[in-house]
Structure formats: structure tokens, C-alpha cells
């Protein structure tokens, strides 16, 4: 099932009093710290209030959940609360079957890219206070939904693997006192942003081209290839080999520079720029060889 075709009607959760969750505000015992500093910012207005989230629900196996729906949860707000905190609270307090991937809680594992208020975002890196309520939390569009907020990532992984995502140089010497290959600071700086990808899939999900062409490598895989192709430690012939992979029908030329991937990337990787640069490299190469 794909979220593409279904934009289900919002269905209010059953009027189960538990679901409302409008419980006592957080931390009654909260004691204001003394006047530490004149400059501390005032607590945001939301403190002590509840946050209204609407979460997409679907389970192919469970009656009542086979038809996708939205459940409403009201979660007590705490300063610093993220979208991930809110769904975790809802799960642990109201409905233990609420399902989503998450692990690191600090934007390094890439598990929790969701579609939040109409945009791909990492749950753990998105502050509740910055969002309009009610907050709609849905699985990543353009991917099969496995259950609730969990999507099938296999296609994303397949595309990542297509670009031969591993370093290729002459065979690693076996000697016990290996010396490092040299790399200039400039070259390290050049690939720096491309190495930050956490495989969250937000970019792929935001891309219209990828939605229309299932074989399109997609921004993350192209960026992965960029990381190697631009690294001076790989020999020239490997770089050519990489460009050839990228030049194929479903490669870099598919990109129409809409920048949607760049806009959603939680690691601020300039994806569109990287794709453009690879296009230019490919042209240069072809001029040279034709």
C-alpha cells in the first residue's frame, strides 16, 4: 500500500476518555529556579498545556486498522519536546500498538523520518513548539506503509546499493604497519557534507521524479556516489566508472533541480548542487572521450 493514493479522511479517535489524555499538567512540583540570570528566556506559552497530535494508523492484519485512519492524542507539553517525544508519550501512555521506528533520539540513526504537517522531517529533530496544531504525523509518502508510521525501506536501500557504495582503490596493503593515504584538507572539506547522510529517506520521499520513476537512483544514492567520486583517494578510472553508473537513464539526468530534497534533508546536505556538479563532471568526461 502506498500513501500516495490514499489521503484518508481524518477520522477522530473513539471518544475513549483515555485517549484524550488531557491529564494533569507536567511536573506540579516544578520549582522555579532562583534568579540565576536576568536573561533567561520566558517559558514558552505552551508550558503546562497539552499538544494535539493526529497520527496516521494502519495495520494490514488488525480489524479496524485495515482502513487507514487518524487517531487523536493529547500529550502534555514539556519544554524541548520533539515530535518523537510526543509519539513516544502517546504510545507509552495511551496505546502501546502505536508503531514507528526510532532509536538514537539525536538525529544520527535516521530511523524516524515522518511526514509532519505536510513535510518530511526527522521526528527527533523537530520541536513541537515550532509547529501548528493539530500536528499531523504520517508515514513518508511514496513508500509502502508496513504499519502506522513504518514504511518499507527496501527500495531505498536497493537504490543505495546500486551505486557501489564502497571505497575502491588498489588492494588494501596487508602489511602490519600500514600508512595512510594522503588527502588534502580541501578535498576532505569538499566531500564533508556528502558524508553526513544518515539514510533517513526524507529526500527520496520528497522527490517528484522518484515518485514517477521507480528506477531513479534518487538524491541519497547519487550523493553517496558523489562522496566517492569526489574523493581524491580513489583513482581516476574508478571515478569514470562511477560517472558511468550515474549517467545511465535513471541517473543524474533525471533530476530537474526542484530542490525539494535539499529542502527536507535534516543534515543540510546540498543534494541538488551535488547532482548538478556530477552532471557537469559527466559532460566533461564525455567531451574528453567522444
Amino acid at each position: 500500500m502506498s500513501t500516495q493514493q490514499q489521503q484518508p479522511e481524518t477520522q477522530e479517535a473513539p471518544e475513549d476518555p483515555e485517549m484524550k489524555g488531557a491529564e494533569s499538567p507536567v511536573d506540579e512540583k516544578e520549582k522555579e529556579g532562583g534568579d540565576i540570570d536576568q536573561q533567561t528566556t520566558p517559558e514558552p506559552e505552551l508550558e503546562g498545556e497539552t499538544v494535539h497530535i493526529k497520527v496516521f494508523r494502519y495495520d494490514p492484519e488488525v480489524e479496524g486498522k485495515q482502513e487507514p485512519r487518524f487517531d487523536d492524542f493529547h500529550v502534555p507539553f514539556k519544554k524541548g519536546m520533539t515530535v518523537l517525544d510526543a509519539v513516544m508519550y502517546a504510545r507509552d501512555t495511551y496505546d502501546s500498538s502505536l508503531t514507528f521506528r526510532h532509536s538514537c533520539r539525536q538525529a544520527v540513526c535516521g530511523s524516524d523520518a515522518f511526514f509532519v504537517n505536510g513535510k518530511q522531517r526527522l521526528g527527533c529533530k523537530t520541536q513541537i513548539a515550532d509547529l501548528e496544531q493539530p500536528i499531523r504525523i504520517e508515514p513518508l509518502p511514496h513508500q509502502e506503509v508496513v504499519k502506522d508510521l513504518v514504511v518499507d525501506m527496501d527500495h531505498f536501500y536497493d537504490q543505495m546499493h546500486t551505486v557501489e557504495p564502497y571505497f575502491q582503490n588498489e588492494d588494501t596493503p596487508d602489511a602490519s604497519d600500514l600508512e595512510e593515504q594522503r588527502q588534502s584538507r580541501e578535498n576532505r572539506e569538499k566531500v564533508k557534507m556528502s558524508t553526513r547522510c544518515i539514510w533517513c529517506g526524507a529526500c527520496m520521499s520528497s522527490c517528484n521524479i522518484a515518485a514517477g520513476d521507480n528506477e531513479y537512483l534518487g538524491p541519497a544514492a547519487i550523493n553517496k556516489a558523489y562522496k566517492f567520486a569526489m574523493d581524491d583517494r580513489e583513482p581516476e578510472d574508478v571515478k569514470e566508472h562511477r560517472l558511468r553508473i550515474l549517467e545511465q537513464e535513471h541517473g543524474v539526468w533525471r533530476c530537474q533541480t526542484q530542490f525539494s530534497c535539499t529542502e527536507v534533508c535534516p543534515k543540510d546536505i546540498p543534494l541538488t548542487e551535488h547532482i548538478q556538479e556530477l552532471k557537469r563532471e559527466a559532460v566533461k568526461k564525455n567531451l574528453k572521450f567522444w
Binding site: 540565576i36 524541548g80 500498538s97 544520527v108 540513526c109 535516521g110 530511523s111 527527533c124 536501500y157 558524508t195
Partner: protein, 612 residues
């Protein structure tokens, strides 16, 4: 059923490295991991990898620093192996393309780190772990090593001889998270556990939600002792709402800690009159908690870390990533307000007892990474020493499991002639599963099954029955309630402050958790991606692991490394130059000790005061 020569459980830095090594040694190897490899918590490490690479540095200095840092509870053969192998294995990462930070001449950069006599921490920006993890995964892809991702390993297939030293491990049982299918994985040569740390035993931790000590618990229940579990490192500056780590860099650059009265308490109350905020991790963590306990904490919970006086320019230049962390995860702007921080569980020095080849006392069962204890960290891990441990001992365990001969180990494992039984400490309650686990209870799992013939099939069957029981039960207690209670008990009583009474309280609460777990049920009826089920199983593992931490903390009445005891606030070398070992003896924890090995290849490490 699936079948491979070597099965590696867990695909963080240690597991990936083990798989590559086993592959190099010619074995057919598969990784089985509850997370896709790139989601593993190794990706969160920032600081770097210690390795004596440069002229002027020397593996012997690295070994010496590590031994001193361990407060003389590291075993010399393991410590020396780490220091000797780290340079080559770090360079290997470079040849696999890891994007290390560079010097002007193009060589890899190294920086100073706490407790090191030479700047030997090799790093890749502020994302060393991320790069290590991805580089290793790339090598796994390159070699076409089979990865079963989002398969949760529930149990080990271990034969049922009376003496654990005679037992053999023949494989594992796992379930496919996506479909709920339960399958056996036969290991013709060996199983390597690389399942990561147990940080979720605590309420507040820098560890991921996935760090639930599954590897520890499975090995423990199969008869392998857990070693030095009481040694838990707490980091003094983690964000209160998530546990996200704020690096030492802030204090290094001049960041100041204040209590709710605006006092610079590190000096004001004499916690560390010389080094102040830069005192060692445990000293600062205890100071912060004292402030909170004495009513000078902010909101009774945390203290403030202020860097505003450094000025925007310096902050942007050196600490920009800290600004993002505070903003993204705590909603605080470090340029205009102080950042809230409190101590958080960070690292477990102890773990599954292994020798320097990663071998446990059970034949065919190996362990590496944070879940293992070889032991290199002893009482306290130095920053930058965990990542080299992953690659050095991950590699060794992978080789060993694949059948490559690494020579006779010097470290002994299991219950044997060289151990001493614990006889003195009075326990407040019966620990372990005794009297609770019957074969038809929802908690029944782990332990040993049958003789070599059919051991895997029987373990699969037992696992299926356990899952059925959990799924069939319609009401009772939910795991989240028990887990929260357990985590609170650990954070309240087995934290940086440890008193006999407190630890005993914790043990009583852990016992209650165990009893409540008899009535646990899984509310989500679906077999598809049932995280409710997975977390319920993890919670059982956390109970077992938390109990060993508390038991270790109770028996070790001294102050060594990260373990502090109110009743005896000195390091007691006379009585305690020994490892604490706890094994699961038919459901009852058995506690014993094995002397630490301070004799290295050609010198003996004499215990000295750990002052910096």
C-alpha cells in the same frame, strides 16, 4: 531455518568488523540485527578513536594510560592487545575510505583527550562514530555479506551440560520484526554477540532506545558470567529531556556550571578547587547531583551550563554543533540562555566475560564491543577507547569464530579453580528468577535447552511458545510500566551515588519488577512490526541486566573508577584488585571473583593513584 558458518548478532561497529573478519578468514557469515546496520548506536560517537599512530607516540604509552584510567582493573593482556592492534586497525579504516579529518600535510589528524599522555585520538569531524559505522557497512556491502536486518534475536541455542564450561552454542533464534516469523539460525562454527550496551536500564542515558542489553541477558542466562557490571560511566553534561550528550568541549573552552542560585558550585562548594568544571567526569557528575539533592538544582532536576560569556564569535567557531544540539533537542538557544544539563548514563565498562580472542566460556560463543568485557576499561573507560575496542576485538572475535588460530589466550573465563566465591554480602531479597520462572510463564526464556542433537529446533520451539503465551494473554501489566519503574530505581539508587541502603532498595524494586513481569501482556494483537512485543522482551532482558549491575554495586564496597560507595570512599587494593563475576545458576545469580591480571608482556603495571 537458516544456516551459516558464523552468525554475528548485532551490526554496530563491533558486529560489522567481526563479520568482515570472518569473511576474510573464509567463513560464510551472516549478520542478524534488530536494526538496519546504519541505525546502530555506534553512529552517535563523536570524539574519536585512540591509536598510537605518530612518531613520538607508542603503543606502550597507550597501554599505560588505559591501565591507569581503568583504575587498575583492566587485564594487561587485553589492554596491551588493544594498544598494539589499534594503529593497524585504524589505518585499515582509512584504507577503506573513512573520511578522517586531515592535517596540512594530508595525514590524519589526532587530538588530545582526557587521560591521554599523547594526543592520539583520531577523529573524523565531530562524527567519528557515524563515519566508522558507515565505512564498515560499506565493506559489508562490498563483500556481499548477508544481512538479516530487523530480525530480533531472542535466544541462543546452547546445550544443557551442568557445567557451563562444557556447553556449546549452535546458533540463535530470531524473529522477523516485519512479519513476526520466528526462525532458527544455525551456526556451524560460531555465534558472535555484538549487541551493544545496556544503557536503557537507566532512566536517563545518552544511549539509544535500542541499547537494552539483549546480548548480555542472553549470554547470562545461557551460563556465561557477566563481569564488572557495577562499573557504569555517567556523563556530567547530558540534556535533561532526551539525554543527548553535550561534549566536554564546552567546559574545555571555558563553559561554567551554575546552580539555581547562580553560584559556580564546583568552586563555591569545594568539589574541585583546582580544576573546577574540568574535573573528571565522575567528580563533576556527583557535584551536580549533590546540588540538586540539596535543593540548589534548577527545577529540582538539573544545573546550568553557561557558555554565553565566550561570545558569539568563539562559540560559532568552536562549538557550533553544541548550539544545534541545544536548539534541536532541548529548544534552548545557547547564545542567549544557559543550557540545562544533568548526569546521564553513558557507557558500561562491564559485560559478557571473554578472553582476548573474544571467546566466552561456552564453546562456539563469542562476544565483542560494548556488550563484552575483555577487559580493557576496568573501572573506568577513557574517552576514545571504545571505538578502537570495537575494531580490534570485533576483528579478533570474527577471526576466532571463523576458525583462524589466534593463539592461546592468557585470560581465563568461566567458573574455575582460579575464582573465589562471594560469601560475605547479605542480600535483601532473593535475586534471579528463582521460584518465578516456570516453563509455562510468560517470562520463561533463555537458559539451556538440550543436547547437541536438536538443540536449535528445541530452542525455536520454546521461543515460539513463549511468544504465543505473550500474545495470547489478554490483560495484565504493560512492559512500559515495569520498564519505567526499573529505570527510575536504577537512576535513583544505583547512580553516581551508591549507598548500601540505596542499592538494597533498588534490588527490592527489581524483584518487584520481576514479579510484576509474571503478569506482563502484549496489547498489540498484530504479528506485523509489533514493537510492543519486542519491547516486552527487551524489558525482561533489562531486568536481568539491571540486577547484575545492582548486585555488583552492592558487593563491591570500595571506590574505584566510576564506582563510588559511601561506606568506603577509597580504592581498596588490598581486597579489590579483582573482577566481579555473576553467573545465572539455574535462575539464581552466583557471585564470584577472579583476580585482575596486571602482568603485561614484559612489565607489571603497579597500581598508582589515579590523579590527573
Amino acid at each position: 531455518m537458516y544456516e551459516h558458518d558464523v552468525i554475528v548478532v548485532g551490526a554496530g561497529g563491533a558486529g560489522l568488523r567481526a563479520a568482515v573478519a570472518a569473511d576474510e578468514a573464509g567463513a560464510d557469515v551472516a549478520l542478524v540485527s534488530k536494526l538496519h546496520p546504519v541505525r546502530s548506536h555506534t553512529g552517535a560517537a563523536e570524539g574519536g578513536i585512540n591509536a598510537a599512530l605518530q612518531e613520538g607516540d607508542d603503543w606502550e604509552l597507550h597501554a599505560y594510560d588505559t591501565m591507569k584510567g581503568s583504575d587498575y582493573l583492566g587485564d594487561a593482556p587485553a589492554v596491551e592487545t588493544l594498544a598494539q592492534d589499534a594503529p593497524e586497525d585504524t589505518m585499515r579504516l582509512e584504507h577503506w575510505g573513512m573520511p578522517f579529518s586531515r592535517e596540512e600535510d594530508g595525514t590524519v589528524s589526532q587530538r588530545p583527550f582526557g587521560g591521554l599522555s599523547y594526543p592520539r585520538t583520531t577523529y573524523a569531524g565531530a562524527e567519528t562514530g557515524h563515519h566508522l559505522l558507515h565505512t564498515m557497512y560499506e565493506q559489508v556491502v562490498k563483500r556481499g555479506i548477508e544481512v538479516y536486518d530487523e530480525w530480533y534475536v531472542m535466544d541462543l541455542a546452547v546445550t544443557d551440560e551442568d557445567d557451563p564450561n562444557d556447553r556449546e552454542c549452535h546458533g540463535v533464534v530470531a524473529y522477523d520484526v516485519q512479519s513476526g516469523k520466528i526462525e532458527g539460525f544455525k551456526a556451524n562454527r560460531g555465534v558472535v554477540l555484538a549487541a551493544g550496551g545496556p544503557g536503557q536500564a537507566f532512566d536517563h542515558t545518552t544511549n539509544a532506545v535500542s541499547c537494552t542489553g539483549d546480548g548480555h541477558a542472553m549470554a547470562y542466562r545461557a551460563g556465561v558470567p557477566l563481569e564488572d557490571m557495577e562499573f557504569i560511566q555517567f556523563h556530567p553534561t547530558s540534556l535533561p529531556s532526551t539525554g543527548v550528550l553535550i561534549s566536554e568541549g564546552v567546559r574545555g573552552e571555558g563553559g561554567i556550571l551554575y546552580n539555581n542560585e547562580g553560584e559556580r558550585f564546583m568552586f563555591e562548594y569545594g568539589y574541585a578547587n583546582n580544576s573546577g568544571e574540568l574535573a573528571s567526569r565522575d567528580v563533576v557528575a556527583r557535584a551536580e547531583l549533590t546540588e540538586v539533592n540539596e535543593g540548589r538544582g534548577v527545577k529540582d532536576e538539573y544545573v546550568h551550563l553557561d557558555m554565553r560569556h565566550l561570545g558569539e564569535e568563539r562559540i560559532m567557531d568552536r562549538l557550533e554543533n553544541i548550539l544545534h544540539l541545544a536548539e534541536d533537542f532541548e529548544g534552548v538557544d545557547g547564545l542567549i540562555e544557559p543550557m540545562p544539563v544533568k548526569p546521564g548514563q553513558h557507557y558500561a565498562m562491564g559485560g559478557i566475560e571473554t578472553d582476548e580472542n573474544g571467546q566466552t566460556c561456552i564453546d562456539g560463543l563469542y562476544a565483542a564491543g560494548e556488550c563484552a568485557c575483555v577487559s580493557v576499561h576496568g573501572g573506568n573507560r577513557l574517552g576514545g577507547n571504545a571505538l578502537p575496542e570495537l575494531i580490534v576485538f570485533g576483528k579478533r572475535a570474527g577471526y576466532q569464530a571463523a576458525g583462524k588460530d589466534l593463539g592461546e589466550p592468557e585470560i581465563q573465563t568461566g567458573y574455575g579453580d582460579d575464582v573465589e566465591d562471594e560469601t560475605e554480602t547479605e542480600l535483601p531479597v532473593q535475586p534471579g528468577a528463582a521460584g518465578l520462572d516456570t516453563s509455562d510463564s510468560v517470562a520463561a526464556d533463555g537458559g539451556v535447552t538440550a543436547d547437541a542433537e536438536g538443540v536449535l529446533e528445541q530452542t525455536v520451539e520454546r521461543t515460539r511458545q513463549r511468544v504465543d503465551r505473550l500474545m495470547d494473554k489478554d490483560d495484565g501489566v504493560q512492559h512500559s510500566e515495569i520498564r519505567q519503574k526499573l529505570q527510575n530505581a536504577m537512576t535513583d539508587y544505583v547512580n553516581v551515588f551508591r549507598t548500601e541502603d540505596g542499592i538494597k532498595k533498588a534490588l527490592r524494586i527489581i524483584r518487584e519488577c520481576r514479579e510484576e513481569y509474571q503478569d506482563v501482556y502484549v496489547d498489540d494483537p498484530s504479528r506485523t512490526f509489533n514493537t510492543d512485543l519486542q519491547q516486552t522482551i527487551e524489558t525482561r532482558n533489562l531486568i536481568d541486566v539491571a540486577e547484575t549491575i545492582a548486585l555488583g554495586a552492592l558487593v563491591r564496597n570500595e571506590f574505584r573508577g566510576a564506582h563510588w560507595r559511601q561506606e568506603n570512599q577509597v580504592r581498596d587494593d588490598e581486597n579489590w584488585l579483582k573482577h566481579t563475576l555473576i553467573s545465572w545458576d539455574d535462575g539464581e545469580p552466583k557471585i564470584f571473583y577472579r583476580p585482575v591480571i596486571l602482568e603485561g608482556e614484559d612489565k607489571t603495571y603497579e597500581p598508582k593513584e589515579r590523579s590527573y
